[in-house]
């Protein structure tokens, strides 16, 4: 029985993979055991909780491949020419809490092309949509670029904009920061006390009284942050209108065409939304040209906020509405930000997605 299922999963994976190849993607393989440092630096502690890390006495920490994206981006940045289309079909390993297998297959498609972002987004989405047609799935799309642009447009200090940008993917802290900057919650008492003390004695004196310096974080670093805290406390709050606008943007959820109209309305009073609205219009046109029914395609600004830190543009996900027990069947999006971190200054325009054949087979079984 078990073998039958494995065979069926492999059959589905191979069929999907053949589909990507026939659409012009170059099949690529990567190592299963990857150096952990790059992945840890990129994803932080979250990945350590989810991926299998092992130690090699000579090579240091190694990680069982948690996804294909990073090794493929690295290889492309080292030796690839653009535009490039890659596809992969292989296993990844992730610790699972719900008793799901920790080893499962991913079939994916990555497109690196900086000439036509809207066209690239549409190409990848239409490809996934086509491959998954016929399965009882629900699709959702989003665009991290809308929220990022809204943050960039706030009339406040660069520091605050940067702090909000940094936490766009962590809703809890994002809301806390926004409430602080908007003056809805007061600064913590300890901070007010520190600033009062600094005003009275001067920062150097306060630091001197705090005890012997120790550790790698230097006195200069502490003084620099005190200066920032002083500047921040002198800056006025983000206006109520802007906080409300941001909340409205976060809550925007409609069909794609209707969502674009609403975005245009908001852009009338908040010009920072003009650029993402234009980008969305271009993308919807490119999608419509590929026969995607954008009038009925669901769109949520907040979609994909917690799925991967480095999605910074168009995102999409396919789930099985009748099977809430199953993980997402397919997901993807634009992740230029990830290539910027990996490339240490260099970046590429990247959009891609991944399908889990196991989940597709489970959906089929459920539907029989």
């Amino acid at each position: 029985m078990k073998n039958d299922r494995r065979a069926r999963i492999k059959e589905v994976a191979d069929r999907l993979s053949a589909g990507f190849v026939s659409a012009g993607a170059l099949p690529v393989e990567t190592d299963s055991l990857l150096p952990a440092d790059v992945l840890l630096d990129l994803y932080g502690e979250d990945i350590r909780a989810r991926a299998y890390v092992t130690h090699d006495p000579l090579q240091g920490e190694q990680m069982l491949r948690p996804d294909f994206t990073v090794p493929i981006v690295q290889r492309h940045m080292a030796e690839g020419a653009e535009p490039a289309r890659y596809t992969y079909n292989g296993n990844v390993w992730r610790k699972q809490s719900g008793g799901r297998p920790a080893e499962y297959t991913q079939v994916g498609y990555e497109l690196f092309d900086r000439t036509d972002p809207a066209g690239a987004d549409a190409e990848v989405f239409a490809m996934f949509s086509g491959m998954l047609a016929g399965y009882p799935l629900k699709v959702t799309t989003g665009d991290m670029g809308v929220l990022l642009a809204a943050v960039d447009g706030l009339k406040t200090t660069d520091r605050r904009r940067a702090a909000l940008r940094r936490h766009v993917w962590r809703p809890v802290r994002f809301v806390r920061l926004l409430e602080r900057y908007g003056g809805m919650t007061p600064p913590p008492e300890t901070r007010s006390a520190l600033l009062a003390q600094v005003a009275e004695l001067g920062a150097e004196k306060v630091l001197e009284q705090a005890g012997t310096p120790q550790g790698l974080r230097s006195e200069q670093e502490v003084l620099a942050r005190i200066a920032l805290l002083q500047q921040d406390s002198a800056a006025g709050p983000v206006s109520a209108e802007e906080v409300q606008m941001l909340e409205q943007v976060l809550a925007l959820k409609d069909t794609s065409t209707a969502a674009l109209d609403q975005l245009r309305d908001m852009a009338a009073s908040f010009p920072a939304l003009q650029a993402p609205a234009d980008a969305m219009e271009d993308r919807l046109k490119a999608m419509a040209a590929r026969r995607v029914d954008v009038d009925n395609l669901p769109f949520e600004v907040s979609f994909g906020r917690t799925s991967m830190e480095y999605y910074d543009g168009f995102v999409f996900g396919f789930t099985a509405p009748d099977r809430p027990d199953l993980p997402v069947v397919a997901s993807g999006g634009r992740y230029d930000a990830l290539t910027r971190v990996l490339g240490q200054g260099r970046s590429i325009a990247a959009v891609g997605g991944v399908i889990r054949p196991e989940t597709l087979v489970a959906v089929q079984e459920g539907a029989v």
Binding site: S97, H167, G215
Partner: protein, 235 residues
Amino acid sequence: MNLKLGIPSKGRLQDKTIDWFAQHGITVQRTGSDREYAGQVLGVDNVELVLLSAGEIPKELAAGRIHLGVTGTDLVREKMPRWSDIVAEVEPLGFGHADLVIAVPDCWVDVTTVDDLDAAAAQFRADHGFRLRIATKYHGLVRNYLSGEGVADYQLVDSQGATEGTVKNLTAEAIADITSTGDTLRANGLRILSDGLILQSQATMYASKTAEWDADALSAWGGFAKGCGWAETPF
């Protein structure tokens, strides 16, 4: 089958556990020489005493090799993902209090909350090119807490002992460790963040949900339950 009761094999935790049982009319005593890990329970039938290192008790409970065990909440929550599926908390015993806290150097006058720690971590990563290091042996608990708080740009580095010294030794910038009085932290120039309390731990009696509870074991449970005022069934 006898009910197997696991208690710490030595030290204050063992003494306090024995005292606690004595207060409930149950005599738990070691047998043989001081160095021999053997003992018995008087006052309840069908009980076998198992002396274990405190750190082993969660593992033995999870494997179902002991029915009851005394260990710290911190160890159970750190070592057992989905712990409440595996063990039941019978009763907190009122000793072995310890808090798992996040502490930073005294000289970081700008960092008093987790919020500050997050901001300092961002700047630290930008200045030094690597994530701010927090030394701990409680990886699961600390990671869950910081992830729930939406903290970024940090990394956990493993420290199995003398964690308070890691900042001075430049192997970490901050620590997350167990403290009961805070004396060791203060002596090492470290200060607890005002909202840096991750878990309040104490010695607790746990019942294994994976152990085999046959008639003998249940009757022994009944004996304990009567003296200790526990429920009729272990969970």
